[in-house]
Amino acid sequence: MKLLIANRGEIAVRVIRACRELGIPTVAVYSDCDRAARHVRDADQAVHVGPSPAVESYLRIDRMIEAAKATGADAVHPGYGFLAENAVFAQACADAGLTFIGPTPKAIERMGSKTGAREVAIAAGVPVVPGTDAPLGQHATDDEILREGGRIGYPLMVKAVAGGGGKGMREVRSAPDLLAAVRTARSEAGSSFGNTAVYFERRLLHPRHIEIQLLGDHHGTVVPFVERECSIQRRHQKVVEESPSLAVTPALRERIASAAARVASAVGYTNAGTIEFLLDQDGSFYFLEMNTRLQVEHPVTEMVTSEDLVHWQIRIARGEKLTLDPAHALTPRGHAIECRIYAEDPDLGFMPSPGLVRGIRPASGPGVRDDSGVTEGFTVPVFYDSMIAKLVAWAGNRPAAIARMNRALAEYEVLGIKTTIPFFRWLMGQQDFIDGRFDTTYLDHVLADRDESFSALSEPEEQRIAIAAGLDAWLKSASSPGQASGSQPANAWKTAARREALGG
């Protein structure tokens, strides 16, 4: 096997690592701005697939197939995002004789439609969030839309049928806002997914987001794993995930896992996938959607079950049987937490903060796993999702895992750009998070009320930084050529900048 990774950044690095461990040569693809990216350097071969905008590179199915042909790759891993849930891509791989590391095009298509997936769940006897059965097409009248909204009840969610990642999704609290929300969601969905169809779902008031990872082989076996808790979301985007969930008892775990397995089996699902549920305060759970790919948060499952999901993806695609013990997959060992480290400034509303990484020293040591995708000297581009690393802490129990995550965040150094590390340091200290008192509305609520900076330092800490800056300027001026010690300190940083620009 030779495997082409139709993706970039940390997930491409993750897949390359798995391939190296399995002795499989790898092919990376890259756009203009990713020429010096880590995934390009770590792969055995690398093929340029176009300009920086994703539609001209990482979303170009034809270029991916060409790159595979040019390098003799016979398998393709789509990662997540980009073409990962694109049935046309999976079919194009199959047509070109390439093994697609994922489910069949049919399964992707079936579960990729949110309303289609709901039908599958209903048929499998799995409860779904009350909502519209059929999507509202482009020509639905305002009256039809309002009638359907009234039937579901408020608050409700307007969702794009082809949606994902929080895009094309709007919350509506009362009828007067519905028509505007439908218009916005349609416009977003049209530009993001090329499909303006939307549907409505009742908005549960305080749901947790609980999801079940599963694997299916080509011999009819489907194995569900212990749940992941992904309720810590900002604007419907997960930022912290953990496993297991404090809200799930072993008995409930059995029930949710078996529901997830029923849905997957109903479509003959193969390879890795995840079924997302909303867990209501009364313990009832509802099918939300299925992600027909690997998830960003797969490491927390790996850490508590001792399985390697990417290895399994490749082995399943090769036709191997799932030999893992189903009881083992449902029994968590300790507790794992993942923080998604983004190149964003949490103090400016989580604005993307792309730029040149001047240095990176990821956290390490006992119980810490760093899956980062950037190195010193790489410029985080503006064109894609700005996640630069997944940081995972494992420990024997949840409080110890939080303490370890705190330790890891404090030792993680990213130089030159802003990241969300200060935000996570704050979150790990929040009593509600520590006590597990949260649902999917928690973070947006807390952030809305919050006005302080996440990067606030104590007076002694700020003084220490001022001292460091003063000493830095002193030392730079003292070492400048042709200058007596400290004579022209005002120019110290400018001189340094010139030197740095010259140096490699």
């Binding site: 993307p352 503006v382 300027a473």
Partner: protein
């Protein structure tokens, strides 16, 4: 002895540095002095020890940031902007005060301006949203890094902007 104006997290401090015979430094911040043993570590790091202040230890990384002349200091996972304004001017009386001067809010990526939330002359607070820009199919609020008054609004809703384009100037 050399004296610098250092802005940390938007707060200006006067830092005086004096090398002592044994290799340590006497550093005075806003009038209070402390003894510092400093070593460079790597390209951007400084290891600080305070031998007369409980033997405290800490490392500050001072790497160049995206805006020219600014550094991003990293301390225990927290990063804050630092600027160095050079030798103290005789006329400066800003010790302990807020950093002065204009602040430009620029588009951090190519995108489309969705909404402009301020007008010229408005007073804004630190971290108040001023412009909403759509990029990567998500709406992002651009906020003011400082409290101040809007001097110029150079963006209008519906227009496309390149990365680095100045949208709002705050003074």
């Amino acid at each position: 002895m050399s004296t610098f104006e250092v802005d940390v997290n938007g707060r200006r401090r006067i830092v005086a540095v004096e090398r002592l015979p044994q290799g340590w430094f006497k550093v005075t911040v806003d009038g209070a002095s402390t003894m510092v043993d400093v070593e460079r570590v790597g390209q951007f790091g400084l290891s600080l020890l305070f031998p007369e202040d409980g033997h405290l230890s800490g490392t500050v990384q001072l790497a160049p940031a995206a805006s020219a002349g600014e550094r991003l200091a990293v301390w225990e996972g927290i990063s804050v902007p630092v600027t160095l304004n050079g030798r103290r001017h005789a006329s400066t009386d800003g010790a302990g005060g807020r950093a002065k001067g204009e602040q430009k809010i620029v588009a951090p990526m190519p995108g489309r301006v969705v909404r402009v939330l301020v007008s010229e002359g408005d007073e804004v607070e630190a971290r108040q949203p001023v412009v909403v820009i759509e990029a990567m199919k998500m709406e992002n609020e651009l906020r003011s890094p400082v409290a101040g008054r809007i001097r110029e609004v150079a963006a209008s809703a519906g227009t496309s902007v390149e990365a680095g384009r100045v949208l709002v100037v705050i003074e």
